[in-house]
Symmetry: C2
Subunit: 458 residues, 2 copies
């Protein structure tokens, strides 16, 4: 850790001019994501505008053995952006160009700093949309690097399934393309999937080619409240097991609904709730709705409350997306700690029950929410980041939840990534396969300059 | 190349007894797949029955620096099985145990030697099926290793999307699990996708956990003939662009239909044809059929001919699956050369037109067929493997087809894999990303004993 050498600073200044900064405020802003993780401030920030910029920055830093950390929209939840060994934060937010959209092929290529909302605003007139929706207005590069997913993944998959290829700057400064535009290929190792989810530890993603979807003819959304979380989850599992192609199926427990009402000015019934969205032709949506209505009734759900007008739908999903902030806002000066596990659907009910039991005596505000169609759920805690006892209490709950998820064949993180927050669980989850991960890391980044201390210990 | 050392032979014999063989006939059978590639015979064959068997075989061979080549059902089309540097063929066909099926989670775990037909026969009573269907009755291990797909991929994806995790024996003999059973995970590098499509060059896959599907309530199949391949392809592209969720959409040109009639005893109209299959609820299938019927009519297609009775459907798809053998059987003592490219759908029509022009003066029987919904098509040639001039002629046609596919953003192989057959195109397709592939190969297999000479040059 420590300041950059005079030589490297001079080189970066010469190359990037006023897009190179050592301002304290900028550095502080780049040393953290949105969650409770302790910030670690980089020594400098560079604003890249092109793949060449990134390649030059990486090359100069690599020559000096200085770490580089890619920064997109700053919405990380697991400490991905912390400069734990100092170094240079490469901010990609000015790489916000939508390079190409093909309505014919349902694909597009964007620079890594494009945000998902920007992309969807751009696509709207062409009747297209990009379905992956983690809630936050994250950058496409960041979503790719963390293998993000979110509310629509139950129908449309995650970044793993929706990235066709990308441009990556390797630790040498070399630039590669990981693939072409074909929908499928058997031509060599799957470099695309190697970089999806690599969290900036193997290279920096500068451009991404994505699959797109046509906007469905009919979109319909509904809320259904239940007497208990268990009932809601069992209904959700039945929907999955019947393979009804719902586009969204989100669990919000009553604590979350209360927080969302307060934060987003809503008046939803304060009950454990499933929120659905249905996409398709009118006939297909009708059929899905009928099937799901029967299922929720069988599991003790109340009648659907519809939110079909686009503005109603938007309010509903905005409230869902703001769940993190809603929970955090329940307490002054709190930070959010959002944990994230994903389990086989048959284990979901048991896991959530166990998690609820753990939360019973928790001293800080907490709520459960989840993309239950995927077996993925979160607990959001509102913590005082200066209160060690409280952090230890939440860490202990988190540990039990994660370890139980792993013990039933699940994963320590369904979509937030490892960052620094889940490093401690990687070996428990993957056993000696972690050694292979470390081997790959060392082969590609022998100097260990790419976002060190994330995924794998430094 | 050459025989095994006395020492290694002794060790393998001691460990495997009569499951270790140096019989000439067995070795010959293990030195080739189903296509025209010149066989290269291994020095010995081992029949593995467990992951431990594979691990011990790999460990002993690795210590002696002797190559190992995994062998499943022997249906490779690109020379994956040739022992180009000698070594030991590890036959996994006796690893044919279906370890676990979960109807609740729609997943299963099987040993690598289980074939897709065996798996589907096992699943049928539970109302489940495994959708990936490359035609041949390949092993699940082989399908995983080549990133196979086939007729159903347009709806259900490829092995890339349907393998949840696997057990792999690394070149050290170490055994790893690449992941758990969660539908999605952001926990570390995607080792699963690294091994999917790695063609035995990074490790040997011994067990695979797969996603399954429920058997659709309604299945309906139909043929539609067109006045030209162009019309058929343009109809297929329109179906894709409207995102109609057809389960299968296969192009068979008139040459192929004639060959299939002769080979499979059918009396299909000898015209350029699209074969469709529709899966879903009765209402959804009806809707898909109506939409597709309108589209094919707009593109000059004749009326659908239905093949709805299960036995009719089976005959149709069996004929499609036997296309390779049908073309080859047009000529005595011929071998099949099946080339395979995949392009963005908007480029498909242009590519197929160019390929047809190349075939105009071809001196050997040839037919075009394809999974056109994915932009993936094949040409099957019936070649005399001893006729150098003929092989050169087909190689030249193949080269033009592949290079054109790459030039429009496509790939040199959509599903057959690289093997030895497509090695020469890898750099053209991936540029300097091939260096990264070689770096990974060297890091994981520094002695180069895992299926050497496949994907990357020795």
């Amino acid at each position: 850790m420590g300041l950059l050498s005079v030589e490297l600073s001079g080189q970066l200044l010469a190359r990037f001019g006023d897009r190179f900064s050592i301002s304290q405020a900028l550095r502080e802003q780049h040393g953290r994501g949105e969650s409770h993780h302790t910030p670690a401030i980089p020594d400098a920030v560079i604003f890249a505008q092109s793949t060449d910029d990134v390649a030059d920055a990486v090359r100069l830093c690599a020559a000096a053995g200085v770490p580089v950390i890619a920064f997109g929209a700053g919405t990380s939840l697991e400490g991905h952006l912390t400069a734990v060994r100092g170094g240079v934060s490469i901010d990609l937010s000015q790489m916000s160009q939508i390079i190409r959209v093909s309505a014919e092929d349902l694909d597009c290529t964007v620079q890594a700093g494009v945000t998902r909302e920007q992309l969807n605003a751009h696509l709207r007139d062409q009747g297209l949309f990009f379905p992956i929706d983690p809630g936050a207005n994250a950058s496409i590069g960041g979503m790719t690097a963390t293998r993000a997913s979110g509310t629509n993944a139950v129908r449309y998959g995650t970044m793993r399934e929706n990235v066709l290829s990308m441009t990556v700057v390797l630790p040498t400064g070399q630039v590669i393309r990981t693939g072409g535009r074909a929908r499928k290929s058997s031509a060599g190792y799957d470099l695309t999937r190697l970089f999806v989810g690599s969290e900036g530890t193997l290279g920096i993603i500068t451009e991404v080619t994505l699959r797109l979807q046509g906007v469905p003819e009919t979109i319909s959304a509904a809320l259904c409240s239940f007497g208990s979380v268990e009932q809601a989850v069992s209904a959700a599992i039945a929907v999955v097991q019947l393979a009804i192609p719902v586009a969204r199926m989100e669990l919000m427990d009553r604590g979350l609904i209360a927080a969302a009402n307060a934060y987003s000015g809503l008046s939803l019934k304060i009950e454990d709730t499933l929120a659905f969205e249905f996409h398709g032709s009118p006939a297909s949506v009708r059929e899905q709705v009928e099937l799901v209505a029967d299922i929720v009734k069988d599991h003790g759900g109340r009648d659907f409350e519809w939110a079909n007008a686009p503005e109603e739908r938007n309010r509903l999903w905005k409230a869902r997306h703001n769940a993190f902030y809603a929970v955090v806002s329940q307490r002054q000066n709190a930070k959010g700690w959002s944990s994230d596990v994903c389990v086989p659907v048959s284990e979901l009910s048991g896991c959530i029950l166990k998690t609820r039991a753990l939360l019973q005596d928790c001293s800080v505000p907490a709520a459960i929410l989840g993309h239950v169609g995927d077996g993925n759920y979160h607990v959001v805690f509102a913590v005082d980041p200066d209160n060690e006892a409280e952090l230890a209490e939440v860490a202990a709950i988190n540990k039990k939840m994660v370890e139980h998820a792993i013990s039933v064949g699940g994963t320590s993180t369904g979509e937030h990534g490892v960052g620094t927050g889940k490093i401690g669980y990687l070996r428990q989850e993957h056993g000696n396969a972690v050694d292979l991960m470390a081997l790959l890391k060392h082969a590609i980044d022998p100097k260990g300059i790419m976002n060190p201390g994330k995924i794998l210990p430094v």
